[in-house]
Amino acid sequence: MTTGSAVRNELWDLYVKETAAIEQDFSATGDGRAVLKRRTALVDLIVQRLWIEIMVGAAHSELETSNGPKNFTLVATGGFGRGWLFPHSDIDLLFLHGSANSETEFKDPIRRFSQELWDLRLKLSPMTRNLSECERLDPNNVEFAISLLDCRYLAGDRDLFSRLHEKVIPKLIARDCQGLIENLGEITRARHHKFGNTVFHLEPNVKDGPGGLRDYSVANWLALISAMEKLKVWPDPSTLLPVSSRRALDAALDFQMSVRCFLHFRHGRHDNTLTWSMQDEAAARKIGVSDIEITNAAEWMRVYFSHVRAVHRVCNQLLEEIPAAWSSLYRQFQGWRSRVASDDFSVVDGLIFLQQPAGLRDPEMLLRLFHFMAEHGLKLSTTTEYKVEQALPALAATPPRGAELWLYLQETLVQPHAADALRAMNALRLLTLLLPELKGIEALVVRDFYHRYTVDEHSFLAIENLHRLKESKSEWDQRFAGLLIEVEQPELLYLALLLHDSGKAVASDNHVELSLQLTDSCAERLDLDPLDRETVRYLVASHLEMSGAMRRDIFDPANVRTFAERVGAPERLKMLCLMTYADIKAVNPEAMTPWKADNLWQLYIACANYLSRSADERVHTGGEKDSASVGVANLAHLRSLARVAGKKFNMFLEGLPQRYLRIHGATDVLAHAEMAARVGEDGVQLNLKQIRHWYELTLVTTDRPALFASVSGALAAWGMNIVKANAFSNAAGTVVDTFYFTDRFRTLEMNLQEWERLKKSIVSVVKGENDVARMLQDRLKSEKTDSTKVKIETQIEFDDSSSAHSTLVQVLTQDRPGLLYRMCSLISKQECNIEIALIETEGQMAIDVLYLTSGGSKLSTEKQTALGLALHTELLAK
């Protein structure tokens, strides 16, 4: 039997007319849900009419009913089954047979039926199965089992459909629930990964992108499978998703339905990409936002992101919560994670719950919650998120600020999962409440041809890129990971990354200026120490400079010199290099090519070497020209702050290496100048203070033989581990030596009176009243254990060309107690003077650069040979 042309024409007319009416109504109302309802009803009507035309009476061997043959039925599945038929969606149809016998008989009618639908230009996705094939989960076609979850009767044998719906599907769920959930989780995670695991794309896919309509369906399916497994029957659909999120999800669904309908109508095909031009048009037509004032595409996209973020959150929560109930391996893993629970938080199935929900009224508890999340890589449970949201209005009245806020924020920023904690804080609107400076970039789309993510997500991703360096296997990542370990204050680098693009909130040619203003405001809010403030400010101000320098010839010494001098200090260079790396990599997944990574590394090492080898260029306070590299303005600023008389201050600065001014902030320089002014009183000025995880000892005195060696020996004798040191002297022979050390035996921490004893001991050593060698011998005798973990080959390199006055020697060797003393004593015995010392430790490697003179000149070749041999012998000895 063939379909009559009259019926075909009638259906075609109906389809064309109704489709046009649906589009016209959408143009007027923007109501996506109404489109779906009408279009589903239209296609229902067409397929039912065709069923009667083609199938009823097609069978001869089976008993016929008014609905056609028995044991054969037509089922809507997938989106069509849900009643979500978008203008250009595929139409998922299942031709279901009661047994395999009838399949051959209806092969031809099914082909004709499908052909008729194709002729009506409906995109059909047909499947033919018998009932027994629907009972089991096919691991190679999980999508089919999932599509059955949305099945809906269309035509044919109603009893057969009831058997599918009431018996077969519940049985399938009861038997294969775990496999279904695990497979659905895997498919969803793979899809999220394809989109970089973020909702914040500049041109998102409204169906498949994270937080898109597919995620809403996944959340529903997970909840449905879970409920059905427990109840053994179909649950009430309205009770599936979490009550706390239902309102947000309903609003998100309405919005996304309208947007996807708009895209289908505008593209005229099944294209779900929300391109820039579509964003402009959607904003102008207020698609999905009729009740909100929207003036441009950026504002409209913020609404879009707020909806998809809500869907993504719920989908991810269910992806974490539901599989846990079935998988023993998953439970074991989560059980292991639950061991990190504390007095404040419990961890169940990888989700954080509050031990005392009322505790969130305390802002500190709230900050501790996100620190906990950042430390352990856990997610918040739905109830915890709800409690956080409830706590926000009270917090908004008196948000924490100053040192209290910075204390928690810095601890959070350095944790391995800081980016996820920041994303969660951002999603709950806590981040912008604490740091309103970030409000302008929240879900902000800035259009260019290379950024893939919104500005806030780009910043979080940049932070994540640095944290991920440690676990990366790539050659480039490992180099930069090594650099990150050396950074003394990583929290400042992370804060700078969080703020570096905050100025993009206002469209302009130069976002850095506004970023700096917002950085100042943030630094004020966090009550940052002036030096820390200066560092963050520098990084934000310079975050594009290294990329700019990479566009010049990175092997040209003049370019290297110019850039290195602009950066000034090695610590800043490290931070700026890492910031550049993280920033480029967060632009899009392909942005950091091996080509760029190599160029960045080459530029970094060239500048680092330049800074080590040019440390003895001196400050001259008399001529503006000579002091150009450290900045005349900088010197004038220092003079204006100095409490010691101008002449004395100039005397102190005269002849000091420029490197001194680059690594010490204004506060330190002024303090040293005052110490220098007091040197005459008792010959030695000392300052000991604790900074973060180490101690800093500054010694200002007149130069004398073996001074640096004596102090390093005394510190080693006290059991201190020198991790860094600098030694500088000015034209008048005043020495400023700074030692940074850790207290291996917690002597200073446990005994406050030991601070004074240590200082007295150092003074007596400097004055020659105490024998350092004997002190050190006693200490080394008591330390027999060899703590060598990595063997470092000693390398000694002399360089006569980098400095006009000194010979540089770079020593790389195994770090060990008393090393600096042994080395510097030997240098002194060889009648060499240490003009400048730059001492660093990286893990178990000591990296020492010393500027040496002998009799006021560079070291002769013979002297270099003799010293090299002596150092080798000394450093080889145990």
Partner: protein, 112 residues
């Protein structure tokens, strides 16, 4: 039609792009490249390790032009990319048989 392939110094990319725009070139393809001709590599030591760069970073531009534009474009590239030192790069020219615009199957010079 002629294909112009120019291998130039990274630092000269912006100047060359500007020069090409000035002579009326509207589109080009830019590749990150590495290589060397007579220019030698570069070695730097850092923390006791030797980092040798045998292949110097360069950028490669590709353009397909109508024949009467070629000499003007070559001159623009040479003027903008030249420093007079080894390592300035090279320009290669080759014949192109046909150009096709994928969008509408248009062919010939008008595609460029």
């Amino acid at each position: 039609m002629t294909k112009v392939e120019a291998i130039i110094q990274v630092s000269k990319l912006e100047a060359v792009k500007d020069a090409l725009h000035e002579v009326g070139v509207e589109g080009m393809t830019v590749f990150e490249a590495r290589g060397h001709g007579r220019q030698k590599g570069h070695t730097e030591f850092y923390r006791g390790r030797e980092y040798t760069v045998d292949l110097i970073p360069k950028v490669k531009l590709e353009l397909v032009l109508v024949d009467d534009m070629v000499e003007k474009v070559v001159q623009a590239i040479v003027a903008a990319a030249r420093t007079g030192k080894i390592g300035d790069g090279k320009i290669f020219l080759s014949r192109i048989d046909e150009a096709i615009r994928i969008r509408n199957d248009e062919r010939g010079d008008s595609v460029l």
